[in-house]
Symmetry: C2
Subunit: 119 residues, 2 copies
Amino acid sequence: MSVYTPAEVVEETGFSIDTLRYYEKIGLLERVDRNAAGQRRFSQEDVGWLGMVRCLRDTGMPIATMLRFAELVRAGDHTIPDRIELLEEHERQVQAQIANLAERQSYIHHKISYYRSLL
Amino acid sequence: MSVYTPAEVVEETGFSIDTLRYYEKIGLLERVDRNAAGQRRFSQEDVGWLGMVRCLRDTGMPIATMLRFAELVRAGDHTIPDRIELLEEHERQVQAQIANLAERQSYIHHKISYYRSLL
DNA sequence: GGTTGACCTGGAGTGCGCTCCAGGTGAGAT
DNA sequence: ATCTCACCTGGAGCGCACTCCAGGTCAACC
């Protein structure tokens, strides 16, 4: 049962300490354990969850949606179908983002070619 | 020499009228012509430029960078190498975004599979 | 000639996602 | 013993990119 100090979690997850506190404040992260001095001691589970949060955040999921997902996770196993649905919808959006970026990229590429043709 | 009313440009570009005014105000769009009544009449060139702006914006370029690009365009043909450099750098970033999204997507996909295995 | 509707201006307000700050605690090193 | 350092709390502030608002103009249709 390993625990992590704030500095370790910052290192592992890439979130700033302020962001971690913010996530806890808004409930995206469940109340983190404290030691006798009141300092946070993150569990393995916390760190794992933060990995998921990073993935969702980096793929553009708004905090409000992550919060909904967090609530489903907390509500227990009977919400697994709902979680699947939420993630599938998100995956479709990620797919759409990729397709969109690829299209824009080719536009940029053509623009570069055009500029090159002027030299 | 076709001209476009604000409503037509909104339709064509997908930018809101407020956004178009904002872009003009900050200089991302050069001062647009007005008719006798002071209403905007966008040129073909304006609309073309807005297409580029949409592409850059939708690929995550910050306004400050688009502004730099706009200044290069206005400064004349001798800035073409600089424009190529700016766009190439941006293209690399878009490529990185795509790669990153693809990786995250596979994480999400695995998570969905895991959830499915629990049903 | 009254009303509607598209448009104008300058400037204030908004939403998101953090980020920073003041003032404080407790543990460990010199 | 004092200093540094990592951390704490509640709350204010920030940067970005818009978005909205009040008060007004003008043209066109009934």
